[in-house]
């Protein structure tokens, strides 16, 4: 009797606590520790060419974006096709503040995130309200991606247009610029780990469960007292804010900005592919997808320099094949096993 009573009082919280990594025990934690130390030691431990550090940076950059996309595309089931718009907003906000008003990109990072949140809310609200179907959202985000691209290209007096805008280089950590470029590796590492941690925690929080409920059955979720609009908007804003932060980082890293490099449709495609390949419902999906896809894309881009377009055409083939035969991605293969399911957080 006592046991039973205890169980019933703790029930409201226990519904929301699913076994996560803890249940996997020490092997999982040991594994995570080894991997993290390996990633941290990678640029300094071996005498490697900076090129490989750069690939590592790109992998973590896309892992961050893919994980963020997983929140809106995987958890909430709203497929944002123009996610690169937020990367562009982050990159251009910090850069323009820095170049025109001499405001530190660290402040620009925050400003970009706030602007992205605002734009995500303004665009997301009409697309999500009245229970409009997901199709509207996909259409709306395509339009958003293109409108931001067109506006950036058109207002060339401010943004440099399609010519691009070079960032001035002043070595000063307060300006997000460092004497040693390996520092960027550690900055994106922190961004990536924070994003994965956010995604993991979100999946196990009330807000995360609400997103899943909305994704799986919108009407039932609404009947269950969940605010569908709020769940979708939260996911969209969160993904936009993270993407924007990554965009600021990217602008500082490459020190040159034009609409094509930060917000072309190709970037949006890459983000989606990374998330879908890894498994967009898992907090690790974006990371796994980036580890596989980014080296491949680097290879393809350098192999087919004479025939531009070949690499993206191949992405198209990969995307079609993935959707036909493995729509849940690589981590989706683990969802049948109860033990692995907890670890990958499906």
């Amino acid at each position: 009797m006592r046991m039973r009573k205890k169980k019933s009082t703790s029930e409201p919280t226990s519904i929301l606590t699913i076994p996560g990594l803890q249940s996997a025990g020490w092997p999982a934690f040991l594994g995570i520790a080894v991997i993290l130390i390996g990633i941290l030691a990678f640029p300094v431990a071996f005498d490697i060419r900076f090129y490989f550090v750069q690939v590592g940076i790109l992998i973590m950059f896309y892992a961050t974006l893919g994980t963020a996309w997983g929140i809106v595309g995987g958890y909430a089931g709203q497929h944002s096709i123009g996610q690169a718009a937020f990367v562009g907003i982050g990159a251009y906000t910090s850069t323009l503040l820095y170049m025109k008003l001499n405001i530190s990109p660290w402040i620009g990072l925050i400003a970009g995130m706030l602007l992205s949140a605002l734009i995500a809310a303004v665009i997301g609200y009409p697309l999500f309200r009245y229970g409009l179907k997901g199709d509207y959202f996909a259409l709306g985000t395509v339009a958003l991606g293109l409108i931001i691209f067109e506006l950036t290209t058109s207002f060339s007096t401010i943004t440099g247009g399609s010519q691009g805008i070079p960032l001035k280089y002043e070595e000063n950590p307060l300006n997000f610029q460092f004497p040693n470029r390996t520092v960027y590796y550690y900055i994106i590492f922190i961004m990536w780990i924070l994003t994965v941690f956010t995604s993991y925690k979100l999946r196990r929080s009330r807000a995360g469960f609400e997103m899943l409920a909305v994704r799986d059955d919108e009407i039932a979720a609404a009947r269950g007292g969940i605010s569908v609009l709020k769940a979708k908007l939260t996911a969209f804003i969160l993904a936009g804010v993270i993407s924007s932060a990554a965009g600021t980082f990217f602008a500082q890293f490459i020190l040159f900005l034009d609409p094509g490099t930060v917000m072309s449709l190709g970037i949006s495609v890459q983000i989606i592919l990374v998330a879908v390949l890894g498994g967009m419902n898992s907090y690790l999906g974006g990371t796994l997808g980036a580890i596989i896809l980014i080296p491949v894309s680097q290879f393809l881009a350098s192999t087919f320099t004479e025939r531009p377009g070949t690499d993206i055409a191949l992405y198209g083939v990969i995307l079609i094949i993935l959707m036909l035969f493995m729509p849940n991605g690589i981590l989706g293969l683990f969802r049948k096993s109860p033990k692995w399911r907890k670890i990958v957080g499906w």
Binding site: P126, D135, Y136, G140, A143, G316, L324
Partner: protein, 288 residues
């Protein structure tokens, strides 16, 4: 001046109408958004271009071949790629058409290069005077051709047996199946028609517009705006909305700002989504 702006706006609008009505037919019947619509337009234009180059015939004469070829392509896309994933989540269908679009568009870029190509029709740049307005013959053919095709589509959907089956499937695919309609075949035919209409649009536009691998991108995205403005699934609405957007864009481009003329369409799109997400016409989710 204004009259000629209006005419070129009508040409653009006719193309938008054909592409948008095709997209909306596909959406209304199969309930998928075909992201490849713009890429198919580009493909149709290259298809026609290569026939013209190899056979040396007039671009307008390629119409039957291009329409048949594009229809077949649409049929094959539906039967081989979309039908297998109909039962899966909508993501799969959405991302598959997106993948097709990437493949076609960038495949064209890789195979044929980024060069701008053009074809010359026997009508050339001849013009004629109509009600005191100078009109290009190719522009007149485009406007007339688009109107005829939209009218034929309307007649087909409302008067023929297959058209009735398509409308039935678009309204209630389960009941249509119970009534003995081969729903998957209707899906394939709807996709084929949507794709064939893009073929018509591409043949009508190539004597006027340049041909290059990214030419379809803008049309594909604007087709979405056409569809939202006309109401998702409303083929007639899309046809009217297409003309409206083409004319608006052209007037804006000439009198206000050429650079921002595409942005104004997105503004219209966002305003529509805010205030009338079901489209500006009353009937919705209906084919025809």
């Amino acid at each position: 001046m204004f009259a000629s702006v209006l005419v070129s706006g009508l040409v653009l609008g006719g193309i938008y109408s054909l592409v948008g009505a095709g997209l909306n037919l596909i959406f209304g019947v199969i309930k998928i958004i075909n992201f490849a619509q713009g890429a198919l337009l580009m493909f149709g234009a290259y298809f026609s271009y290569w026939i013209v180059t190899w056979l040396g015939i007039d671009p307008y004469l390629t119409l039957p071949i291009v329409v048949a070829g594009m229809g077949l392509l649409g049929y094959l896309i539906q039967t081989t790629l979309i039908n297998p994933v109909l039962k899966q989540e909508r993501t799969s269908q959405l991302l598959i058409t997106f993948g097709i679009s990437l493949l076609i568009q960038n495949g064209a870029l890789a195979l044929w290069g980024p060069d701008i190509r053009f074809v010359k029709s026997f009508v050339g740049y001849n013009t004629f005077e109509f009600l005191g307005i100078r009109i290009g013959v190719s522009a007149a053919i485009a406007i007339l051709g688009a109107s005829i095709i939209i009218f034929l589509l309307f007649v087909f959907l409302n008067k023929s047996k297959m058209g009735t089956a398509i409308r039935a499937v678009s309204q209630q695919s389960d009941s249509a199946l119970l009534a003995g309609i081969d729903v998957k075949r209707v899906y394939a035919i709807a996709f084929a028609i949507g794709s064939a209409m893009v073929g018509v649009a591409s043949v009508l536009m190539i004597p006027i517009y340049d041909i290059y691998p990214l030419m379809g991108e803008q049309f594909g995205v604007i087709a979405f705006i056409v569809v939202v403005l006309g109401g998702l699934g409303n083929v007639q609405g899309a046809a009217i909305a297409g003309v409206f957007l083409g004319v608006t864009q052209n007037i804006f481009a000439v009198y206000v700002s050429n650079q921002l003329s595409v942005a104004i369409l997105f503004l219209i799109f966002l305003i529509t989504l805010l205030f009338r997400p079901q489209g500006i016409f009353i009937r919705k989710m209906r084919v025809s």
